[in-house]
């Protein structure tokens, strides 16, 4: 039984769109970062799906690089969040709107 690849692409697109919507409407910094991770996961699924269709293993290798970059970005991003929390005492992006405290 074969599943059409477009189903995988639709799932990937849905995850990406949920990530974008989360990025735009959420107000907590950490949740915004998690929406970014959701976007990256949606893209990973696209990579693997197309690798499966065209039988090119590089698609799966590229997912590695996306994961590694996501890990590095999450680490640095969370460090920034902790630094922002220490100075501003808030995790709400609407309150982090002045350069001077």
């Amino acid at each position: 039984m074969m599943v059409p690849l477009s189903y995988y692409l639709l799932l990937s697109g849905f995850l990406f769109v949920c990530g974008v919507i989360g990025f735009l409407i959420k107000r907590n910094i950490i949740t915004i970062f998690m929406s970014i991770e959701l976007m990256l996961n949606g893209v990973n699924l696209s990579f693997v799906a197309f690798a499966a269709q065209w039988h090119v293993l590089s698609g799966q290798v590229f997912v590695f690089f996306v994961m590694v970059v996501a890990a590095a970005e999450a680490a640095v991003g969370l460090a920034i969040i902790i630094a922002v929390y220490r100075t501003r005492e808030t995790l709400n992006v609407d309150r982090v709107n002045l350069l001077k405290l």
Partner: protein, 174 residues
């Protein structure tokens, strides 16, 4: 048959997790729904044949990156978030716009993309083949990404160190 059932089951978990991330107000609930999404995505990769990627997704993404998120939420004692004001223009234009865009994109992808159906385990991504690619054809990106991680580690340590602790120097006991 099994392929479609498994895809739909874990796809439903992915969708539910993604929607739950948006709907929940406490970040810890969003984090745990994201872990559920990553777990079911790992199974989707397995359905497409990428077995090594499944393991790496669980170990790295769900087991390390999301643990980092959860630990940060615990450390900063993040509470429920206050909602933003919300603008009526955004709701009036946004929701129909998203629906129309979704239908358009869905229709194009389903019927007019040049994609075929894939069998279960379409492209076997066993560790040996992936290692062959990673260390021969993609060696330069591999090395550059390792330097990238090193820079990220150093950056994270510097960003979270307190200035007075840096001035004091490393502890001399133990």
């Amino acid at each position: 048959m099994f392929h479609l059932i498994l895809f739909l089951f874990f796809g439903a978990i992915c969708v539910a997790g993604a929607v739950n991330l948006l709907v929940q107000s406490h970040p810890i609930n969003s984090a745990l729904s994201l872990v559920a999404v990553m777990g079911s995505l790992a199974v989707e990769y397995l359905l497409l044949g990428a077995e090594f990627l499944t393991a790496v997704q669980v170990i790295v993404y769900a087991g390390a990156i999301m643990v980092l998120f959860v630990i940060t939420i615990m450390l900063l004692n993040a509470g429920k978030e206050e909602g933003s004001g919300g603008s009526r223009v955004a709701i009036l234009l946004g929701i129909p716009g998203v629906l129309i865009a979704t239908l358009l994109v869905g229709w194009t992808v389903l019927f007019h993309s040049n994609t075929r159906a894939v069998p279960l385990g379409a492209l076997k991504g066993d560790p040996r083949a992936i290692a062959q690619l990673l260390f021969h054809d993609f060696l330069l990106p591999f090395e550059i990404t390792s330097v990238l991680i090193l820079i990220a580690i150093m950056g994270a340590v510097v960003l979270t160190s307190r200035p007075e602790a840096v001035a004091r120097g490393p502890r001399r006991d133990g």
